[in-house]
């Protein structure tokens, strides 16, 4: 029997304890605990199969599931009860976003068939592109909770197509439409004037008409399935199962926290730049005692104009996910109960807890990921077994907007790709080479899908040698993607670690820096395998005079500048070649301790160009 099994045995309640504490037999409680997750997954599947936006059908950039009933005796208050597997940051934020919308609207005003819609980040949300929706679950007159969703809208209006426009949206008034909670459906009937807010004020009216109805259908599935269980087992047992489910997750996290050494652990990092090109400091102090933990972001820099700030709910989501991602939470359901042991200090006015009128549209992805990684880096000091080197952060976004007129018709398009990247080495193994950050947990759509749907060609996508942070367990390597548009486009990009590399731990090496460059008119030369024309740096270190790449070691040299690693509206023409390189991830432990066979495989696989590179010599 493993230690984990032993711990599981001690945290599991006996059948008698479950019956006396919750008023439900253990078997029914477990059936319903799993059934709730099944309901959420069915809701997610509906969105995947019917939505037109690739962010919903392919990428999984949404969070969907169920809120519990309100029942003071059972300590239930519309808590996030069961969420599907997509975009964990969204299902964490549902706990705040949806509950604040319910409070704003007034719980007594709901009627069967209503659907509320809202996207005000300053009411518990993340950024304006994340549209919240919820539907009450009525069993007769008895409100059994809500079906809820947060879905990333491909465009929400405003001056920057697709929304992510770091530096271009000075304040929240430049972000697009922003809705306080209102009805999208009134007792099952579509409210046309609220639908028209989307069809008239965003760049994706055709997608919107379909996808808003898809989301309503997915919420309806959640309501219908809950009612089936409530009918079969009774509403009282449903409430009992909700309480049991939340408590089960709480016990799991508290049990795991007991294995983390008590102490105070600190970490810090920098975002590459603010709107003016200055680095932004982010700090984290983790206090851990017994089965409680507090994550404190005091000492982080102030909020900055142009989207260089995020919402407190994003930061709380990041802290929650940072903690649970470093714990052994096998078989744990991530619901509100899991987050009861975690307190988060998010100083208002900091870059991690914006106040109006700061824009948080672009900052949502930047700081969510930074804040999550800071928790992991801080807890890395708690014990070598928990340590993990830094992964790529910011979600990593590359997008293009333009008009596809190749067939003689006028077809505006927006395509956004959230980029998978490398993770840091751990006590157990090398870092993963390519997956999305934990807060997103999204999928990248297939390259062929993008090429079929949009006038974009991906010429190459490969790992880059000698970019992985060295170590006993190395980090994952950089990935380089080479893209060319087939019509004139404007490029949206969000990277980080173009200036400050990923951090190794316990003697491991840092990863290589990221960058974006454009070879103007370089496509023909690329196709012929010839030398490309001079590169123009979009993101990274550049020679000021001609924009060609410079080394980070020359950062403080005259004539060298850092070009911001986030932006939008960069013109790219057909025949131009865009080369985006993600950072490499950090290594774990001294490279001198790396196993000889692992070094041989590294060189064979092209991760390093020689054994000497693999051990940092």
């Amino acid at each position: 029997m493993t230690d984990t099994q032993t711990r599981r045995d001690t945290l599991a309640l006996s059948a008698d304890e479950v019956q006396s504490r919750y008023g439900i037999d253990l078997t029914t409680a477990e059936v319903l605990r799993h059934a709730l997750r099944h309901v959420a997954l069915q809701m997610q599947l509906k969105v995947n199969t019917a939505a037109l936006s690739p962010l919903l059908s392919e990428v999984n950039d949404f969070g969907i599931g169920l809120l519990a009933p309100r029942d003071a005796e059972r300590d239930l208050d519309f808590d996030a009860l069961a969420m599907a597997s997509a975009a964990p940051a969204h299902y964490v934020i549902n706990q705040f976003y949806a509950r604040m919308a319910i409070e704003h609207w007034g719980v007594e005003r709901f009627q069967p068939g209503d659907v509320l819609i809202y996207n005000d980040p300053y009411r518990g949300g993340s950024h304006v592109n994340d549209v919240g929706t919820l539907m009450p679950i009525f069993d007769g007159d008895d409100l059994l909770g809500f079906a809820v969703a947060i879905t990333h809208w491909l465009d929400i209006g405003g001056p920057v197509p697709a929304g992510l426009g770091a530096g271009l949206q000075r304040d929240m008034y430049a972000e697009g439409i922003k809705l306080t909670p209102r009805k999208l459906y009134d007792r099952g009937e579509l409210v046309p004037e609220n639908l028209e807010l989307f069809t008239e004020q965003t760049r994706i009216p055709d997608i919107t008409i379909n996808d808003l109805q898809v989301i309503k259908s997915a919420l309806q599935i959640g309501c219908d399935m809950v009612l089936r269980y409530a009918t079969r087992y009774g509403a009282d047992l449903y409430r009992a199962a909700a309480q049991y489910t939340l408590d089960f997750s709480e016990r799991t996290v508290r049990s795991s926290l007991l294995e983390v050494p008590d102490g105070v652990y600190e970490s810090q990092d920098y975002l590459d730049n603010n709107m003016d090109g200055e680095p932004m400091l982010v700090r984290c102090t983790v206090r851990k005692h017994g089965d409680n933990i507090e994550v404190d972001y005091s000492g982080s820099c102030r909020e900055e104009w142009g989207g260089y700030a995020s919402q407190w709910s994003d930061t709380v989501a990041a802290a929650h996910l940072g903690v649970v991602n470093i714990l052994d939470t096998t078989a744990m359901d991530l619901n509100a109960g899991a987050y009861r042991p975690i307190h988060v200090v998010a100083p208002p006015g900091s870059c991690l807890s914006a106040l109006p009128p700061m824009s948080t549209n672009a900052g949502h992805t930047m700081f969510l990921t930074k804040a999550l990684n800071l928790v992991k880096l801080a807890l890395s000091q708690a014990s070598p077994e928990l340590a993990v080197a830094e992964n790529y952060d910011d979600v990593g976004v590359l997008g293009f907007v333009g008009v596809d007129d190749r067939a003689g018709t006028y077809n505006p398009f927006i395509t956004i790709r959230a980029l998978c990247g490398p993770f840091g080495g751990t006590a157990v193994d090398d870092g993963c080479s390519m997956t999305l950050v934990e807060g997103g947990n999204c999928l990248e759509p297939s390259i062929e899908l993008d090429e079929e749907a949009f006038p974009i060609l991906v010429l190459s996508r490969e790992f880059v040698a000698d970019t992985a942070g060295v170590g006993k367990h190395r980090g994952g390597p950089s990935t380089e993607m080479i893209v060319t548009p087939q019509v004139p486009v404007h490029m949206t990009y969000q990277l980080d670690q173009c200036r400050f590399p990923t951090q190794g731990v316990l003697g491991g090496g840092d990863g290589a820096r990221a960058s974006i460059v454009v070879y103007r008119g370089g496509l023909d030369a690329w196709a012929r395998g010839e030398k490309l024309p001079a590169a123009e740096v979009v993101a990274g270190f550049a020679n000021t005079e001609d924009g060609t790449p410079a080394s980070y070691t020359e950062e403080n040299s005259p004539g060298v500048e850092f070009r911001n690693s986030k932006g939008a509206g960069k013109p790219v023409m057909p025949g131009d070649v865009v080369v985006l390189r993600l950072p490499g991830a950090g290594g774990y432990g001294p490279a001198a301790e790396r196993d000889d066979e692992a070094v041989r495989k590294d060189v064979r696989d092209g991760i390093y160009s020689s054994p000497a590179h693999a051990v940092g010599r």
């Binding site: 705040f96 005091s298 975690i342 988060v344 807890s353």
Partner: protein, 67 residues
């Protein structure tokens, strides 16, 4: 509701000592400050040694609740 950008370059949560020792671990001082738990914003009196929460009061989430 709008707020000016802070003039300080880094932001700390104000943490005010309370003249009370921790009833759980006997630490000399407890502190009053704001934090977010799984249900939202609180003002707490809390021990920063053993993380015991002596008092908690729900507050309106900033910015709605920020003076």
């Amino acid at each position: 509701m709008e707020f000016p950008q802070p003039t300080e370059l880094t932001i700390d949560e104000p943490v005010n000592p309370v003249d009370q020792s921790c009833p759980r671990c006997s630490a000399d001082t407890m502190y009053r400050y704001r934090l977010v738990d799984y249900r939202g914003w609180l003002e707490v009196v809390k021990c920063r040694s053993c993380l015991h929460v002596e008092d908690r009061r729900p507050i309106v989430a900033p910015p709605q609740g920020t003076p």
